[in-house]
């Protein structure tokens, strides 16, 4: 991956054209869940449904594990992936919380307290950047 100015933003994956190419099939799979019939098929046998798509094994494993950070590392975009957690009956807030490693309750409370503060969250530390 080339170095881009946004690669030094901590905890963030920017969905740019490179990521879009990497995630094409993953995102199209996710959007197929906008149709009720496909949601049923997926729920009945997730692995079999995933095998109908030209996704990498890594991408399939990330979906099965509902590891959203990993899905985004592999080219997923949150607005596409939203169709997966909607199929699971979960909200954007639930999904976002799962990406931070916080419990749903702790995350919701952080938002009520004004959200994650910008201080210390705008640049990666020089050491691990």
């Amino acid at each position: 991956m080339t170095t881009k100015p946004y690669h030094d933003i901590p905890g963030t994956i920017i969905f740019d054209p490179e990521m879009a190419q990497l995630g094409y099939h993953l995102n199209q799979f996710a959007n197929s869940l906008m149709q009720a019939a496909n949601r049923e098929k997926f729920k009945a046998n997730e692995r079999a449904y995933l095998d109908e798509w030209a996704m990498s094994e890594e991408q399939k494993q990330a979906v099965l594990a509902r590891d959203y950070n990993q899905m985004m590392q592999l080219g997923g975009n949150v607005y596409f992936l939203a169709k997966i957690f909607s199929t699971d009956g979960l909200s954007f807030q639930h999904a976002a919380a799962s990406m931070t490693g916080m419990t749903q309750e702790a995350y919701a409370q952080m938002m009520l307290n004004g959200g994650r503060r910008p201080e210390g969250n705008l640049y990666k530390e020089q050491n691990n950047g």
Partner: protein, 281 residues
């Protein structure tokens, strides 16, 4: 001639639509948010716009990975609310204004803004939540709406400067339409929010309030803020704010602020809302 009289800016968080659809607006969590929209509910009844040019973004609903237009204008007579994966919102069909949309398309493209022309498109929460916030729960939307979808999902979206300049060209386009119409331009999305990764939940109240200040009276310079500042400081999804600059560009340089509201949180997001009018000449 058609004239632009006013602008509205608002966030378009899906959870706000769900709160309205599920009758939760009086709950303590939501009550302060909806209070911030009482002004616009009254104001819009007095303004009675004929047409709203509504700037929003599609969230991977009408457009999937196959086509991602940077600027797409809806030229159809009507647009259905999208099924975003849990059934379509129970809100009215959106009626367009094909003649004005065709006129704007010609004018903007000849002014060097290369639009994508759309004749069939479902509209998602980005468009329907602002309508619900302003008009409430109604049987039919009381005016015609031209959807204008801006890509902010795939990076990079158009720059703030490009959006602001497009707004200015839009002003020229609307004001050269021969029919006598009261037109409003709305800009939606934002404010600071990040829906992804370990940094999810980022809110930057200082950034947001500075953006609101400058949108009103320093838009020329605000338009120069580069993308990296939005994504770094307002979150990866906070970059939706560039869409507000289309609204601002479409209005006169001098505007009158009628209402300003800011609230944290709605789900993962900071909510901002402005009502502005063109100063009468």
């Amino acid at each position: 001639m058609a004239r632009i009289t006013a602008g509205v800016a608002t966030s378009h968080v899906p959870a706000i639509g769900a709160a309205m659809d599920l009758g939760k607006t009086e709950q303590p969590y939501w009550q302060p948010l909806f209070k911030g929209y009482e002004y616009v509910r009254q104001w819009i009844k007095e303004q009675k716009p004929d047409v709203i040019f509504l700037v929003y973004n599609d969230h991977a609903n009408a457009f999937d990975m196959n086509f991602i237009p940077t600027f797409a204008i809806g030229c159809a007579p009507e647009f259905k609310p999208a099924d975003e994966g849990w059934g379509a919102r129970p809100v009215p069909i959106v009626k367009g204004h094909p003649a004005l949309a065709a006129h704007i398309t010609q004018s903007l493209i000849q002014d060097n803004f290369d639009l994508t022309v759309v004749h069939k498109m479902d509209v998602d929460h980005g468009l329907t939540v602002p309508l619900s916030l302003v008009f409430g729960q109604v049987e039919a939307w009381p005016c015609l709406i031209i959807p204008f979808a801006v890509n902010v999902v795939l990076y990079p979206p158009p720059s703030g400067q490009r959006c602001y300049d497009l707004g200015k060209a839009l002003r020229k386009a609307i004001e050269s339409f021969p029919e006598d119409l009261n037109v409003q331009v709305w800009g939606t999305g934002g404010m600071s929010h990040q829906l992804q990764g370990p940094r999810a939940g980022l809110i930057n109240q200082a950034f947001d309030n500075d953006f609101l200040d400058r949108l009103i009276d320093d838009a020329e310079n605000l338009a120069k803020v580069p993308h990296i500042n939005y994504v770094r400081e307002a979150g990866s999804e906070g970059i939706e704010l560039v869409m507000w600059l289309i609204m601002r560009g479409a209005l006169n340089d001098e505007i009158e602020l009628k209402h300003r509201f800011y609230h944290v949180p709605a789900s993962n997001t900071a909510v901002g809302h402005l009502v502005v009018e063109n100063k009468k000449a």
